[in-house]
Structures are given as C-alpha cells and as structure tokens.
Amino acid sequence: MFDVAIIGAGIVGTSIARELSKYDLSCVVIEKSNDVSNGSTKANSGIVHAGYDAKEGTLKAKFNVLGSEMYEKICEELDVPYKRNGSLVLAFNDDDLRHIEMLYERGLKNGVKELSIIDKNTVLSLEPNIQDNVVGALYAKTGAIVSPFELAIALAENANENGVEFMFSTTVTNIYKENDVFNIETNNGKFKSRYLVNAAGLFSDEINDMLGGEKFKIIPRRGEYCLFDKSVGNIVTRTIFQTPSNKGKGILVSPTVHGNLFVGPNAIEMDKKDDVSTTKKGIEEILKGGSRSVKNINPRDIITSFAGIRATSDTGDFVINVPTKNAVNAAGIESPGLTASVAIAPYVVSLLENEGLRLTLKNNFIKHRTNTKLFIQMTDDEKKLALSSNSAYGRIICRCEHITEGDIINAIKRPLGARTVDGVKRRVRAGMGRCQGGFCMPRVVEILSRELNIPMTEILKSEEGSYILTGRTK
C-alpha cells in the first residue's frame, strides 16, 4: 500500500514526485512507457515562458509566472542545462504593435518582471539576423530555455534517490475505491494507494473519467519542429516569437540549451493522441513561418525533424482540482505546462494535504544530484580522476557530441538508468548530433547489451516493439 500513487512520468508527474519525496511518504509513479518523459515532455519547444501570454486570472498565468521564477534554482539543484536567454515577440506592422502592447500590459498584470517594448534598431542590434521589416518587439528578459526531457529525467532520478518508486511499462486501465483506498488496475498487477494524482497528460481525461471527476476532454494538437546543426545555432541568441494573428500563434525560432537551433511548432488538431509523425506540408509551413522572422534559415542545415502533441483541455485552462476525495488532477497541462509544472507540484501537494495527507519533512532529503557531468564538461582534474576510475572515459562513442563510453555507462547505471537507445540519447546526448546516431548507434546497442546483460536483439530504440535487430546473420 502506497501513501500516494502518481499516474504519469512526464514533467508534471516527475515534478510532483520530487516534491512529495521531500516528505516521509511512500510514493509510486506509474508510467505506461518504458522510460521517463516519453509523452509531451520529450517533444516541445523547451521554453521557460516569461508569463505574458496567458490571460490574467487563469491557472496558466498564475503557474507560468511562479514556475518561471522557480526554474533557475531547480535546474541548479539538479544540474540541468538552463539558460536565461531572453525572448522577443516581433511586430511587423501596426496591428502587431498594438498586440505586443496588450501583451506588455498583460505581463505587468500577471507579475512578469523586466518586460519592455523595444524599437526596430534595438531589435536589430540585439539580433542582427531578424528580418529587416521588423518594426518593434516585446522584450522579456526573464524568458529562458531548458532541456525538458533532461529536467524530467533529473526530477525522476532525484525523486527515486529520495525513495519514490517508479513502475514503467505499466498502464493504468481502471481505478476503483474500496474503504477509502484506491485500487489501481494495470497490465502489470494491481496497486493500492491512499491518495492519487492524475498527471497522465494526453490521457488525463480518461483517468479523470475513471475517478468520476467532472468531465473534460483533451483535444490532441500536434506541433512539428525542425532541428538545425550547431554550426547555425547562433543565428539568434534569444527566443524569437511572432505576434499571434488570426492565422495562428506564429512560428518561433530559438537556440536550444545545447547550441542547436530549432524552428516550429505549427498546431494541427488530431483525432489520435499518439500520432507524432511529421508531414511535408507541416515542415514547409514551419520553415516558411520561421523565415518570416529570421534570415538565413537554410533547410540544408536541418539535422532532424520531429513532432509533439499538446494536451489541450476543452475547458481552455489547466485542470487542477479534486475529482474525487483524496485524488488530485493535474490535467490538460498544455503550454506553458513545462514552465508551470515546477510550480504546479507544490500546489498539488497542498491540495493533497487539504484532503488529509499528513506531510512530515524528511531530514535526509537529498537535494542535489551527483555525478552528472559529462566527460567533456569536466575540469582537467575531474577528467583525470574519471579516467583513473574507468578507462572507458577515454573512449569516444558519439563523435559528434564527443560522448565517451564512460558517460554512456553512467547513463545506464544511474538511478532509473537508460535501457534503450533513445534513453541513452536523452540522458547524455549520444546520437543527438549532426550524424543522428549513424556512427554511434551500433556501438550504443552493444554497450546497452553488455551493461544490462541482455541480448543485442532485445535492445530497443524506444518503446516496446521498437526492436533494432532481427536476428543473427547466417
């Protein structure tokens, strides 16, 4: 019997798990995928929004601003790449100017700090690659970028080090209450808990139904991206938004924390919740859209394209409430959900407390992660030490990102370590560079097989069924 069961190991579920791990509780995270962060959290813009976007008074606005303020500290505690690079919302005409003024006002009401409206020359001096027909911009100095999946993995690792259990490849299929205890049925057996959190992202409406909460519906909306080579990662240094118009929210162009550049996303309403394929039309749309803001975007420099799905709730806002006694929904967390998640977590915990969950702070809570540095990031002395403990740190496996075998072994051996090729990629970037694993993928498969002691043929790219090898040669 657990005190709390959390359904979903996206950024919301892992934030809540880490928050709960500060207290003397037994918690479990139940996740249908075989790794942390395989839902919306793995494919989004990675922007820590300043908070001028969401309408005042909404949960989105409240938790966005709070979250944005909390980010730097959490990323520092967990040693996750985060960069306050600032963001610009560009205006190209009078309508746009009026709109950014509205956003400015809204930002002030929401409590966003360091907002200003800047003129054309200032825009171009900050960002010389912006198109010359820009007329002004809203400048939010507190806008930042983060690696979303690395943060979710870090939160989960840290929660796990502090005692939270994680059940992967476990899908919740039904929930019923018996004597005030949640019976959670899954493909992997039944779990019992006294309290329950629904952080199931795109499927949070279905979990809410199982709990008998007030109905809402998740509308999946897909967004496609193109990711560019590091050689063009500095075309812009800030995150460049467009003014939303009747044609849509606009395409953004931004550097990533690792020095690549991305362009996207569009927004396509879907009837399926799991179709993350990209389309020719979508890619053309975002490249065209990106070029409206920024010069010198050359499709030749694309290293990969991908898509993610937003869990848009038909209520128009995040759904954070109590669907039934002793349960909390953290549902419909679409953008700015990545930003908001770190602030939603303590709020969800306070709702659980309202429901009667007893909270006693642990005195042995481990706040920081250890042993997180990649070999290339180490100081000379740290490098020497790493090499003397394991010569595998001297063997480069991913030539593009200079990731060593030692780094990959670490990614596998860490708490909730990598078990798939994509798991390695998201933890230590092997395969994320310009050759996209063309060189290192066979080697990573070999290392996974050796370290986990499972046959090469059973190593997966990502989810169940994504086998890489079909058997031995003759």
Binding site: S305, G438, M441, P442, T457, K461, S462, G465, Y467
Partner: protein, 420 residues
C-alpha cells in the same frame, strides 16, 4: 609531446600517407585512429573489388587494408588506436583522447588530415513521417551485418543507389532478407556500374530512377514507406504515391567529408566538395597541414585514395625537410561546363614530382563528349568519352613538363560536345 608528422585517421588514406612520408625520410610519425583497428571503412567492406588499379588484382576491403597495415608494421611506424582527435589548432596543436593515455596534446611540425567521411542521414533529407526503429544508414547496417553478425531487417527498401546501398542490397539478399527495391531520386545512379550489375541485376532487385521516399510509416518499427515519382526539379509528383510494405529502410544517400577538425583549424573549405582546398602536394590553405582521401572529396575507388595519399605523404616529407618551394609561380584549377569540381585546386609546378593526377566529377550524365583541359585558349589535353556520370570519378594526368608551361593563372577543365 612534439612530433614531426601526425596523421589523423588510420584508413587507407592515412596509412598510405604515413608509408610514403617514411619512405621519404621522415622517421618521427604518429598515426591517430579512433577505431579499435587500422584500416578505416574498408574493414567493413568484406566484398571483392578493391585494388584493381594499385595491385592489379581483386581484393576484399580488409585484404586491401591489410597490405598497408603490414607495410606500416614493417616500416615500424607508430600508431595509437582508440585515439580520437578532439581538437586541431591553426598552429598544428592537436588534442586527442584515448583510454590508455587519457587526454594528450601534441605539437606537430606537419599534419595529414585523413578522417574520411560520414553518411548523410534521414534528417538531412528531411523525410516526413514517423520516427520508428528500422531506419538505418547503409553503413550502420553494414557494420551490424558484417562486423557484429546481426541482421537489421527482413523486408528492405533502399533509398539511394550509392555504392554502400548497392553492396548492402546484395548482402541483405544473401543473408535471406527480401530487398524490395532501390529507389533513386536522380535519373542515374551515383554508384559504380559494376555494382549495379553485380548487386542488383544479378539478384533481380528493381532500381527505380526518378523516385524518392516521401513518407515513413510505422509507430515503433518501420511498417512501410510511401514512394513517389519526382519531376525534373526532383519534387514528388502528386498522384504517383505508392505504399511499399517493409520493416527496414536503408539510406545510401551520399557521403559528407568529415571536416569538423578542418573547420576548427580554419582551413579553407571548398563548398562543392565539402573538403579542404588543396594544392599539388595535397597541402591545405594552412602550410604544413595536408589532407587526402575521402576527407578531401568522396572517392568511389580506394585505389585513387591511395595514390592521392602517397602524394600527401610525399608533400608532408618535403615540407618537414624544408624542401618545398614557396615560389610565387602558381595557377588555379577550375571546372566548367559539366565539370563540377577538380582536385587539386592550386598548382605550383616546381613542387610537382613527375606529374599531377587531377580528379574530377561531372555534374550530370553525358554521352559523346570530350574532356578538355585549357590554358587560356590553348588546349593542353583532350580525351573522348562515350559516357560520363557523376557516379564515376574522372581523372586526367598531366606531366610536370606540361604544367611548367602553363601561362595563365587558371587551368580550366571542361566538357565539350562532340558532333556526330
């Protein structure tokens, strides 16, 4: 550590350069190779067809490499394996990493860049669709099959008719997979004619020209691809789409010289080849840094790599011994009218040993043309070609004698139609 000559990459290019430098009197040579063994990409090319020009016999890739590895051993040339060069400075300072020595720095008098090339990937082509397992570059698949002994799929479509793709079509078929087709964007193959015959035609594998893959299907593992015909601007024609069921897509869509280090050292790079500009001794825009093999331009035959690399080794030796002339007497080379590029790019006639082999690729398929070399209006060379194709590198050998008589500052290589 200080060294006279450091060679980055122990493939056929690096090995040949090392051997030739040694034979020309340089003793202090170090080859740095990031793989577990010498030989480069040849180690995974277990098919026949190497060495027809250099050894006048048919060798497999590993056999061809072994001849050079044996020579390196015999000459006592030092090499370090599992040693990846991470940085190269304009001042020829090298930082490398291996499990035994950790990070180490070398100050080299001369450097030969012989890092080879890498394969273009799905991302570079931007093929839409899902992102399941089962999409491999042909080289990665080749590594699994030939070096590790694992099969990568059962029903295969190959995009691109580059040599690696053709070779893998045969290999996968022999291993019991069904290779459904090879799909090629262009109206011609970039692979060698003999590979098309021996790897596809002999196995009845269809080769579809003017086609491409427009979508990848399958959630976890590839379940199929959509192919479509393309128009003369290489754009898919609507209405010609066809779904092909398969569990594997191999990409053989081109190679890119591996020039991260070259760029870091601020060596000038030719945007056409994606390799360094080089002179008659295979020297780059930085004096004392030479380059050869696939890192300069992508070759189809290792024999040419070897020849070019001997020259780089010879050049490096001359440079180290201070015998290289720096006279201002020089001219450039240029490809025009159907010649996409020429290597080398700059010639100082004094430094030429006996002759220069100029390597070049044409930009399209042509029939009945003359390949001519002109100094101003003067035709220095003319050769009749019945058929030229971008897939097969052309070469023209001009003697020192001819080169010394060049008067202009540019030697032009071009194709000329022959009236029939």
């Amino acid at each position: 550590m200080e060294r006279d000559l450091v060679i980055i990459g122990g493939g056929p290019a690096g090995l040949a350069a090392a051997i030739e430098a040694k034979k020309n009197g340089i003793d202090d040579i170090l080859i740095l190779e990031r793989d577990k063994r010498l030989g480069g990409i040849l180690q995974q090319c277990i098919h026949n067809g190497f060495g027809l020009h250099v050894f006048k016999e048919q060798l497999t890739g590993p056999e061809y490499a072994q001849r050079f590895i044996d020579e390196v051993e015999k000459l006592g040339i030092e090499y370090k394996l599992e040693s990846m060069v991470l940085h190269l400075g304009e001042d020829k300072k090298i930082i490398a990493l291996n499990p035994k020595d950790g990070l180490f720095e070398i100050e080299a008098k001369a450097v030969v860049l012989a890092m080879g090339c890498r394969e273009r990937t799905r991302g570079a082509l931007n093929i839409p669709g899902s992102r399941p397992a089962g999409v491999f570059t042909a080289g990665a698949a080749q590594r699994f099959v030939n070096m590790e002994g694992y099969m990568v799929g059962k029903k295969v479509v190959i995009l691109g008719s580059g040599d690696i793709g053709l070779i893998m079509a045969r290999r996968m078929t022999l291993e019991g997979a069904e290779v459904k087709m090879v799909v090629e964007l262009m109206p011609y193959s970039t692979g060698l004619k003999r590979n098309i015959v021996q790897c596809l035609e002999d196995f009845d594998i269809p080769l579809l020209f003017n086609h491409t893959v427009t979508k990848i299907h399958g959630k976890e593992r590839v379940e199929g691809v959509t192919i479509a015909k393309v128009d003369d601007k290489r754009q898919p024609i609507e209405g010609t789409e066809l779904f092909v069921e398969c569990d594997t897509l191999l990409l053989s869509v081109g190679l890119i010289p591996e020039n991260e280090l070259t760029r870091e050292a601020k060596i000038e790079i030719n945007p056409v080849t994606n390799g360094a500009y080089v002179n008659e001794l295979m020297e780059t825009s930085i004096e004392g840094i030479f380059a050869c093999g696939n890192v300069v331009h992508v070759h189809d035959l290792v024999d040419f790599v070897t020849q070019e690399s001997f020259l780089a080794g010879y050049g490096a030796a001359k440079y180290i011994k201070g015998e290289k002339s720096n006279s201002a007497n020089k001219f450039k080379t240029k490809g025009l009218n159907g010649i996409r590029y020429v290597v080398p790019n700059i010639i100082h006639p004094e430094n030429v040993k006996d002759a220069v082999n100029f390597y070049m690729r044409v930009s399209d398929v042509y029939h009945n043309v003359n390949l001519i070399v002109k100094d101003g209006d003067k035709v220095l060379y003319k050769s009749r070609k019945n058929h030229v194709s971008p897939g097969e590198m052309e070469n023209v050998k001009l003697s020192k004698d001819i080169l010394q008589k060049v008067e202009g500052d540019e030697l032009v290589f071009e194709l000329e139609e022959v009236a029939i």
